[in-house]
């Protein structure tokens, strides 16, 4: 296998996914033997203009003016991987999307909200601007899954992201279900792949990886109301990381 050239790019995000990559510890050195990182603004001054085998993009597409930069990346890269939920679905950034434009500006900027340079659009996945070959969900991405999916790509094998709910992984971990503890949980509709990290640590799943292909959202709302949640809030509950996926 020829050593592929890869580069990392970031858009609207918290950069936590990049940090997760840095957290590979000594394994990072092993990874650097199978890929060549040629550009990674957060930790490298080097830039390059050569063609890339893989461009990893973190963050949402949230300003029209980023489109051009994205298109340039697309032109250079053989494969484009949107990694992290911001890039894959819009992620947490999309939580503002369903609020009328003027409203969030006023909330944050008060009287300054009318300044003309406040233009932002909805936070969208990278795929809203350019074609993406693979979107890896997760807030932040799960390191193991990231490596596994990229390794599949390097071998020319279409990567598999689970299409079953987090409950599957949660049960394998033998956790007590949040619902048994009178709590709520979005694990029933959330796409697995994280190893049920949140329920395993005693907190509900918030579906940071988005939903399975056909989430039973009606049943979810019914279930949340049964746990005592206000109906209006039950409808909004599933929108934390998935605002772009839930209709108003």
């Amino acid at each position: 296998m020829k050593i592929p050239k890869v580069a990392f790019f970031d858009f609207t995000s918290c950069e936590g996914c990049q940090v997760e990559i840095a957290n590979f510890d000594q394994d990072l050195l092993k990874l650097l033997q199978v890929v060549e990182v040629v550009e990674f603004r957060e930790i490298m001054k080097e830039t390059c203009s050569e063609p890339l085998d893989i461009a990893f993009i973190e963050g949402s597409f949230s300003r029209e003016k980023d489109r051009e930069r994205l298109q340039k990346i697309r032109q250079r890269a053989n494969l484009v991987v949107a990694y992290g939920s911001c890039a894959a679905t819009g992620g947490i950034n999309a939580l503002k999307n369903h609020k009328p434009d003027y409203k969030y500006k006023v909330e944050v900027y008060g009287a300054d909200a009318t300044m003309p340079h406040l233009e932002t659009q909805k936070a969208l996945p990278i795929s809203a601007a350019i074609p993406v070959d693979l979107a890896i969900p997760g807030c932040p991405v799960n390191r193991q899954e990231f490596v596994r999916l990229v390794s599949d790509l390097l071998h020319g094998k279409a990567p598999t992201i689970p299409n079953y709910p987090v409950c599957m992984e949660c049960k394998k971990k033998e956790n007590i279900c949040r619902y048994e503890l009178q709590d709520t949980c979005l694990g029933v509709v959330a796409r697995a792949g994280c190893g049920a990290l949140c329920p395993s640590n005693g907190i509900p799943c918030e579906a940071c990886r988005g939903f399975v292909d056909n989430p039973n959202l009606d049943s979810l709302v019914e279930l949340l109301i049964k746990t005592g949640m206000q109906p209006a809030y039950a409808m909004a509950k599933a929108r934390m990381f998935t605002a772009n996926l839930v209709e108003e």
Partner: protein, 439 residues
């Protein structure tokens, strides 16, 4: 010497988030000198409105992936203050231990991955793997400890999962505490080696001073990181303490047409937060081992050189390692109680939480209605507080460099190093505006 300087550094590298430096000068006359922040606005204060208190910290954690531990702690403290929840001594100790973990982790990341290349004369850590393999191995080992430290306590180092109002949803075990202790002990020699490396390159740190106001937490229990009052230190040594609830009287945010970020000012035109501010404020509370290292490297307070922030960070990393060891011993000595976070009854109220994250003092402020739904929020991020100070430094530094007839390349390097020294976390972008620049 007639000289035309035209610096336009788009998206400064090896910093978190996007920032630009623009400097124009002709014949030694400065025409323009700007620190610009073109990061896309993200509107977190708006996003948390209408969400339940149990979700808030998980949302605001996403302001920043590098100091997400600190964001969660500040957020949880604000929520606890608003809902009138108190936490056990054990929880507080564990949170302090966690805070040290984050401090260590982030500082190592900054010192090794972002600043070291400048000091060792390479563009990034990548070539170091060849030229200085021992340095890279050391860096990875230390970074590894940093993230394991937070992960053991909080479930994950980036966007931790176990920090909840009232305590921890899952407790670290005593076995894990012992394991953590051993890992920290194993890393102490690496810290010593780092001190030596730092000493050997100390002369490459630019000599530049600008007197400014320093702001950070001042705590009675320990060196201000997890808790305390807002301490403000003026260049003349005058120190005032302000309650966290009154943070707005310190931050005084204002919108500058020059920059996309909201600026802050207190008693002077700008102030500095972060490791250098903390160390200037709290030097005497540093762990003796950290003070010893400071002495070895030749660091003393007060220090007005912003480039020295990196050195201050390293000294803090040493401090956190030793304090971590002591906290672990004290937790093991008293034995871990199997505590469950309390069941929380929502009530209407407002609360402010402050934590000194690696890049400086951070405020979260929330108001809840009686069903526990957030009705207003305000977050003030350290990097925002530093922007005006960075601009202030540039305004003094650039003419000095012009005076000294520095080349454009040198100027670029020094300006970049200046920005990097602040370890700006630009993605913490709750307050950013989106300004179109006049070309």
């Amino acid at each position: 010497m007639a000289q035309k300087i035209n610096i336009n550094l788009q998206h400064v590298t090896r910093v978190e988030g996007h920032g630009n430096i623009v400097v124009n000068a002709t014949n030694g006359k400065l025409e323009r000198c700007e620190w610009q922040v073109p990061e896309a606005p993200r509107f977190f204060e708006s996003m948390v409105r209408g969400r339940h208190f149990s979700e808030i910290a998980r949302i605001t954690s996403r302001i920043c992936g590098i100091c997400s531990v600190g964001h969660q702690l500040a957020s949880i403290k604000a929520t606890e203050a608003a809902l009138g929840i108190s936490v056990s001594e054990q929880t507080e100790k564990l949170r302090r231990l966690l805070k040290h973990g984050e401090n260590f982790d982030s500082h190592i990341l900054h010192v090794y991955f972002l600043v070291a290349p400048d000091l060792l004369g390479v563009p990034s850590v990548m070539p170091l793997a060849e030229s200085h393999p021992e340095v890279v191995k050391r860096a990875l080992a230390m970074k590894g400890l940093g993230s394991r430290w937070s992960s053991l306590i909080a479930g994950r180092s980036t966007h931790p999962v176990r920090i909840v109002p009232g305590g921890f949803s899952t407790l670290i075990t005593e076995v894990e505490l012992v394991e953590l202790k051993q890992s920290i002990l194993n890393i102490l020699p690496e810290l010593e080696a780092t001190a030596e490396t730092l000493q050997s390159v100390a002369d490459r740190i630019p000599q530049f001073e600008r007197k400014t106001e320093y702001i950070g937490l001042v705590d009675t229990v320990e060196y201000g990181l997890y808790d305390g009052q807002i301490g403000c230190l003026m260049p003349d040594g005058q120190k005032t303490l302000i309650e966290v609830e009154d943070y707005r009287s310190v931050t005084n945010e204002w919108v500058s047409p020059l920059s996309t970020a909201k600026y802050t000012r207190h008693q002077m035109d700008s102030y500095m937060v972060g490791a250098l501010a903390r160390i200037n404020l709290n030097f005497q509370q540093l762990h003796p081992q950290a003070r010893k290292v400071a002495k070895e490297i030749g660091f003393s307070v007060p220090c007005y050189n912003p480039y020295m922030n990196t050195v201050a960070q390293f000294i803090e990393a040493v401090h956190s390692a030793y304090c971590g060891l002591e906290l672990i011993d004290s937790l093991l000595y008293s034995g871990l109680e199997a505590e469950e976070p309390p069941l929380i009854q929502p009530k209407a109220g407002r609360g402010v939480g402050a934590v000194d994250v690696p890049r400086g003092i951070l405020f979260h402020d929330y108001e809840y209605d009686d069903t526990g739904i957030c009705i207003s929020a305000n977050c003030i991020i350290p990097t925002n507080q530093n922007h005006a100070n960075i601009q202030g430094d540039m305004d003094k530094l650039v003419p000095e460099m012009l005076q000294a007839n520095k080349s454009q390349a040198e100027m670029e390097l020094y300006l970049e190093m200046l920005v990097r020294a602040y370890d700006p976390c630009i993605s913490c972008s709750t307050h950013y505006l989106n300004v179109t620049f006049v070309k």
